[in-house]
Symmetry: C2
Subunit: 356 residues, 2 copies
């Protein structure tokens, strides 16, 4: 029997209807194939991207040449343009408001090798990725005119990725986007009512609930009560902190273990593996907030939005979060099979495109 | 250069970034194929669906047997269940609110023939489809306990359709979903500020703007200023009316001409043709509203949501609405080529699955 659930923070309703997973399908999802073209993110192809904003490289290697471990470059096809960050809207005819699309849009190329998932990197490489995220967030905290930053990863064509090579993107804007504002407002209202951070309450109760996926020393992963998508998983730091930029070295080391474990479990459950990974953090340049808690949301491309969702704002999710969490926990409990799958996946992927 | 635009009614921002259409793609979208299974919506297969709620059939034909023109049946895999429509939430532990998923979920099977698009029906058949929508909406207006109804069509696997056979769905709920509530509230605020219906203002100005697609005696189609998706198109009745259930016979005849024209143009622009069509109407059982205006939104599966959209609530649309409208107008101005394409499409589609 379907169940209606409400997100504890924002005004978002979800209908969990697991019977919908059994409905007949006329369509088979054909694997989408790589077009076999030059990969602009592979080592040796540095001239295919704009110049580096930040790069960790071997001693004596040259900027924008080979010999790097991780590169941050402006997006060659940006959604927003670096500008003065003046007025957000400069036109209003009473019906239509518009303005220049101002901001920063960068790409973090997370490995010189042509692999497709964070789970294919070594622990040290993932630590470097997380340190690089932190360095960019810290730099943006003091950037004049910017209010928000969103770091996200689109993994798999079904989740909106256009390039296969492992990478994330960040978009920083001179305003706070609608959903982030709603989340901040909802969290504030919850804090005012109870005197406690709603995310702190959530992570304590959810980690040990049937929705719990993994609890480490410093992080808790669970499938949220009002999951929008099948196998949706959130990862929260156990320590209250509103800004991702304040993540500690110890937390980075712990997250470098937790994050690939969670992603591997999601990649095992959702075939073909496709998801968005989104970092939620407090506004740039503001003080630490006692009512907000930075976190990561993993949103699988499983039962994505159709007409009802786009019209109503409600989501229909065909997988109960409790069932999803149980499957993810079972995958996490199978280390050997798990490793084998990961290795096979690496090999298949690296054969698809010629290495530079 | 990207442009930021705000929807005139709801608090929804869109970044129009047409440069993003030129970015390289590792992935090719492989056509998804029909699995060649029994179609539960074809004439002769009536036993595959629950019993008819409403049906237009030949004289002397039997209920739930062959000989029909259009059938309305409960969804066999419903997202909500018909219930008493009591309390919306019956559980609240301070963090989690939940309740039974109550409501009505029906399927409107729009032809006994196995075609995939409304554009493949005759004018008389489309009139019957629209009359059937009206009959269901009118019946639901007086249904106890229901507050809202959403009629939608998912066309194509990329837009979330699970079955190819031409059909729409309606979901009626005991509450007003978030986005509908926001739309009603935004329209009310606009009305209070200007003394005029914001949709009436929009249709007068947009129909003759570079975003205009088609203006008939009774309807206006245009690509909205803050389109979320490439080739997004809205169709509004020229006569102010808040409830779709009040559509007149004359309006149905006109819409039966306008709607397939618009859909054909969208199907020509978006390949493979895939979109959601959503009817927006005022709450069930309420009085006519001077501030709200029913309308149809055609939302192509072109540049759908990825990590940034799910995290921010902002959309990035790679097609300027003015450019999209120009392309749609050009298609509308090419009647002969247009008809050929439509016929070819019919043939290909009808061969895919054996007719019952």
């Amino acid at each position: 029997m379907p169940e209606l659930r409400k997100d504890p923070v924002v005004d978002r309703w979800v209908i969990i209807a697991d019977n919908r997973g059994r409905r007949p399908q006329d369509f088979e999802i054909a694997p989408r194939r790589s077009a076999g073209r030059l990969c602009p993110f592979c080592e040796g192809n540095e001239s295919e991207t704009p110049g580096e904003v930040l790069c960790v490289r071997e001693p004596h290697s040259s900027p924008n040449g080979p010999g790097w471990k991780i590169r941050v470059v402006p997006n060659k096809f940006p959604a927003v343009w670096e500008a003065e960050c003046g007025e957000i809207t400069d036109r209003d005819d009473g019906l239509h408001q518009a303005g220049p699309g101002q901001g920063i849009h960068e790409v973090i190329i997370e490995s010189p090798r042509h692999v497709s998932s964070l789970t294919q990197l070594t622990g040290d490489e993932i630590i470097l990725v997380l340190q690089t995220y932190r360095r960019r967030f810290q730099a943006l905290e003091s950037h004049p005119g910017l209010s928000s930053v969103m770091l996200f990863k689109n993994m798999g064509a079904e989740a909106g990725a256009s390039l296969e090579h492992v990478h994330s993107q960040l978009i920083a804007l001179p305003m706070i986007p609608t959903l982030q504002a709603a989340e901040l407002q909802g969290a504030k209202a919850r804090f005012d009512a109870s005197g406690r951070c709603v995310f702190c309450r959530m992570l304590r109760s959810e980690g040990v609930s049937p929705r719990g996926v993994l609890v480490s020393d410093r992080f808790t992963a669970f499938c949220p009560f009002a999951s929008r998508f099948g196998y949706e998983t959130w990862i929260l730091p156990n320590r209250h902190a509103s800004h991702f930029s304040a993540i500690t070295d110890d937390e980075i080391r712990d997250l470098a273990d937790v994050l690939p474990k969670v992603l591997k479990a999601v990649e095992t459950a959702v075939r073909p593996p496709a998801y968005n990974l989104v970092f939620h953090t407090a506004p740039l340049g503001g003080p630490p907030l006692e009512h907000y808690h930075w976190h990561i949301e993993v949103l699988p491309a499983f039962a994505r939005a159709a007409g009802f969702e786009w019209g109503s704002g409600f989501h229909i999710n065909p997988v109960y979060p409790e069932q999803a969490a149980q499957e993810l926990r079972q995958t996490l409990a199978r280390p050997s099979k798990f490793e084998d799958e990961s290795i096979r996946q690496t090999e298949v992927t690296s054969e698809r495109l010629p290495m530079p």
